[in-house]
């Protein structure tokens, strides 16, 4: 069943919900039962004209979408269903000031296609009439922010990360332009750092920028999904509304091209598992939606599309603003943020940032202590911390060696950009390739330099085994003459050599038959039994003996004696009675007495069943409660299961061990044995 959710916004009625209506989510931005609150810094003093109702609708829709996105989980691991739960079906019923406008295809189509590409969800909107619409003032709060009084020239979406900082420096300091910096604060933890950045930018800017912080307060239970793929839509909508108020028709995201295009760093990163926040297709989609809302051409741009993060940092340095770097925040694991560790060092953004800082030679302005886990020399825990870094570095190493043909035949995702940028597809493709090559070379140079700098530690193997430098170097255990020699001599007698191998290596067994492909047998009792049988080829074992050898607690192993299922006398009575009934049956048939025939037949069937139960081979009385029999069954079943497993990987070995084939090498039963045929010499 797909991951579906209905979302009812404001005071809309709850009937006729097409899907996901069992437990609809209620979002209210105002009224006594509000659970979502949008707050925009009071910008009345700067406003050139009132905000049109369509823009008020836009920011409310974007807020609802953002909150619905966060309140609906993408499910657990749905890997077997190829991401069925990752992609959600969302139905949103939203009250708006102008429903006809929002129902029109000129807005609805780009809105749905952009959002669905951005978050990979399926969106169904129903727009209803909004009564008692709140004015913009409802969302405004007073801030101590003060900036220039002249009309601003640019609206920049300023997250406080390195890229948007680079953009703010470019616009406000290098180009001396009047800018508005719109900041969405996902957490109050960033406030102090953003305020510091604000102050530093103001000191150097020719015109004091206008800072517009935007907050969204929501009920705790609405924060269930942290991926927040729709965040950039909210951000763009708020930025566009501000731009509209200043009579501007453009907003700018500043994001390096590598992250904008966000090619997958691992095969499991499919679709929007790598965010498409500022992907050119999304940027164009935003522009289409905003143009439809504004009823005029509205542009959304990313001037850093063809820059790497390192180049942005170099640009910051050239602008004389290096001291701002340490106050920027790139980490998304904000919940881990402390005063000492402002960056986790584990998430993709931290890795990306630190590589760029090192590549740009700005480590003096981005203290290593700020990272909870250092990039190059710190040990990394299993799972995502190591996976993310390993994938990042491997991707860079691969791309650095690639030709354009290799690149496009490895990263199909790159083809998604070709139709969404100005210029010919060939030019765009070449730019794209060159951008990624520059980035890859910047990353690999950092690694190469670190290897050179730590050559002695690598040679002596004194670095933590799971640190990046150890992972990229061919290393084994720490140098120890004794152990090393011992290992060498052990390797000389390769325990896994030969055409016939059945050897335990750690937990599993390595198996090879007749010089074929070796394979692994995972630990199981059946494999352990086979190991004993093959090692002791030609020896006959009792099933109980095999079970005893493999049992975890053999000292507790005691076999009970069996008892007869019945007595010979009782069995004799059953048989005599059966014979009598045979005569009765014949009599009933002769007399055409159907009732007697049926009755007699039933009794005969019951007797036959009981006799069958109580006797075994040759009509002998069966034993019950026989532990030996139970053990025989258990051991043989375990061996047969292992034979089934072997059949998956080596048909010939399975055939060789099949107890039903002739000549038979494996015999099962109370006495179990394996006899290797002539010419078969097992390394076991």
């Amino acid at each position: 069943m797909p991951n579906e959710r209905a979302v009812l916004c404001g005071d809309v009625p709850g009937g006729n919900i097409p899907f996901g209506g069992d437990d609809p989510l209620r979002l209210r931005m105002w009224g006594p039962r509000w659970n979502v609150q949008l707050q925009i810094a009071n910008i009345h003093e700067y406003m050139k004209r009132p905000v049109p109702p369509a823009f008020l609708d836009l920011i409310e829709i974007a807020t609802y979408v953002y909150c619905a996105d966060q309140a609906t989980t993408r499910g657990g691991s749905d890997v077997e269903k190829f991401g069925e739960n990752w992609r959600r079906r969302l139905f949103l019923r939203i009250p708006v000031r102008n429903p006809d406008l929002w129902r029109s295809s000129k807005i609805l189509e780009p809105l749905r296609s952009t959002l669905s590409f951005l978050s990979e969800d399926e969106y169904h909107f129903e727009f209803t009439d909004l009564r008692n619409a709140p004015p913009l003032q409802k969302y405004l709060f007073t801030t101590d922010s003060s900036g220039q009084k002249e009309r601003p020239e640019e609206v920049i979406l300023f997250s406080g990360g390195l890229d948007s900082l680079g953009g703010a420096i470019q616009e406000a300091i290098c180009d001396r332009r009047r800018v508005v910096l719109v900041t969405h604060r996902p957490t109050s933890k960033l406030t102090k750092r953003n305020d510091k950045l604000k102050a530093l930018i103001e000191q150097k800017a020719a015109h004091k920028p206008i800072h517009l912080p935007i907050n969204i307060n929501k009920a705790k239970e609405l924060g269930r999904e942290y991926t927040q793929r729709s965040r950039s839509f909210l951000y763009a909508s708020l930025g566009a509304t501000i731009a509209q108020m200043f009579e501007l028709s453009r907003i700018r995201f500043y994001e390096n091209g590598v992250v904008s295009l966000n090619l997958p760093v691992s095969a499991q990163v499919v679709g929007s598992r790598a965010t498409r926040t500022t992907h050119p297709q999304v940027i164009n989609g935003f522009a289409a939606v905003l143009s439809a809302v504004a009823d005029r051409k509205f542009n959304v741009e990313n001037p850093f599309l063809w820059k790497t993060k390192t180049e942005i940092l170099q640009h910051i340095s050239q602008g004389g603003c290096e001291e701002m770097v340490k106050y920027s925040t790139s980490c998304t694991h904000t919940w881990e943020m402390t005063r000492l560790h402002t960056h986790c060092g584990i998430c993709s953004q931290c890795i990306d940032r630190r590589f760029a800082v090192l590549a740009a030679g700005l480590e003096g302005h981005d203290p290593a202590e700020a990272y909870k886990v250092g990039l190059l020399l710190d040990p990394r825990a299993d799972g995502e911390p190591r996976t993310m870094l390993a994938s990042y570095v491997e991707t860079a190493s691969e791309i650095a060696r690639m030709s354009p043909a290799d690149f496009f035949s490895r990263y199909g995702e790159a083809s998604r950009v070709l139709k969404h940028l100005n210029g010919s597809a060939d030019t765009t493709a070449l730019q794209l390739f060159e951008l990624h090559q520059r980035h890859a070379k910047q990353v690999t140079k950092v690694v190469d330099d670190a290897i050179a700098k730590n050559a002695s530690a690598i040679r002596n193997r004194t670095l933590p085994p799971t640190c990046l430098l150890r992972l990229v170097s061919d290393s084994s255990t720490a140098i120890d003459a004794g152990a090393s020699t011992a290992k060498k001599s052990k390797d000389a007698i390769n325990p896994f050599s030969g055409d016939y191998v059945f050897v335990r290596k750690g937990q599993p067994w390595i198996v090879k038959f007749a010089g074929g492909q070796d394979f692994i047998l995972l630990p199981s009792k059946g494999t352990a039994y086979l190991d004993i049988l093959i090692s002791g080829s030609g020896t006959t074992f009792s099933a109980a003996d095999l079970a005893y050898r493999v049992a975890k607690a053999p000292q507790k192993y005691a076999l009970n004696e069996a008892i007869d299922a019945t007595s010979p006398e009782t069995l004799g009575i059953y048989r005599a009675r059966y014979r009598d009934l045979e005569e009765d049956l014949e009599e009933a048939r002769k007399n055409s007495d159907l009732a007697a025939e049926q009755r007699t037949q039933n009794e005969m069937d019951q007797l036959k069943e009981q006799i069958k139960k109580d006797t075994g081979l040759g009509g002998r009385i069966r034993k019950i409660g026989d532990d030996r029999e139970r053990v025989r069954k258990r051991v043989c079943i375990a061996i047969r299961r292992t034979l089934d497993e072997i059949a998956k990987y080596d048909k010939r070995l399975a055939e060789h061990l099949n107890p039903k084939t002739t000549p038979r090498s494996l015999t099962l039963g109370q006495s179990i044995s394996y006899v290797a045929p002539a010419g078969v010499r097992w390394n076991a």
Binding site: S77, W86, R386, S415, K651
Partner: protein, 261 residues
Amino acid sequence: MGHIRLGDLPRTRKWQEVVALIEGGAGTVQLANATISAAEQGLKLASEDKGLVETIWLLTQIPLAAKSADFAGSLRNVGLKVSDSPSLMEVVGAVSDVIDSRLANNGGRTDLGEMAQMAAAETLSKEIGSRTKGLFDTTPADVQTAFSRLAISKQFSGFARQFFARLTNKCLNYFLSRAMDYHVGEGKRFATLAQVSDFSKALETHCQEAAKIVEDFSGGWFSKTNWEQDGIPRDKAAGFTYVALKKIISELKEGARSDAE
């Protein structure tokens, strides 16, 4: 921004067996077998996957369009938005775009379809790029000639094999990458990233071998269907997808066994 989400394999017995095999040092052949067996149920629904079927249908349409005098017009007829003299990269970009537009609002999109879309773009770049001696600055005539050659039975066979080899490799890595990096580091299955890379290359080669089964029948299917139906309709492409994947799955299981012979 720029967040990337990673995941793990399910904790069910069959997937934990795959994890144990990685940890135990199983080779590519055995791992491919175990992985495809664990993923078989999901893959069985592949012929119903809109993205996958649309991708394969488009891959059959481009060579046929290239045989027409009006290449660009024929491409537009199947939905590709291209100029009058399309370059290779333009066609590749248009293929991605049209699949996205056919799955508008994400209806019916799955990771499998997404992987197929990427595999198509990659195979086109690789196969046509090698025939036109490069990706950029190719003449429209060169591009059309290179595409039209794929309409020859034998050429289509090779092309289909490359596509399915990529798709299979992507599918296997889609699962395995969720577990492999847990086993990187000293004393683990892969001591270094170089060993991971070697494993990936071996898996790629194994997928190429497994996809040979598609090469054996796809050219014949393409020519026969095109002749009988005067074109290749979507339902026939869906049938071809089903058979091709079924054969590859069986090959990955059977191939692993025959490797030992």
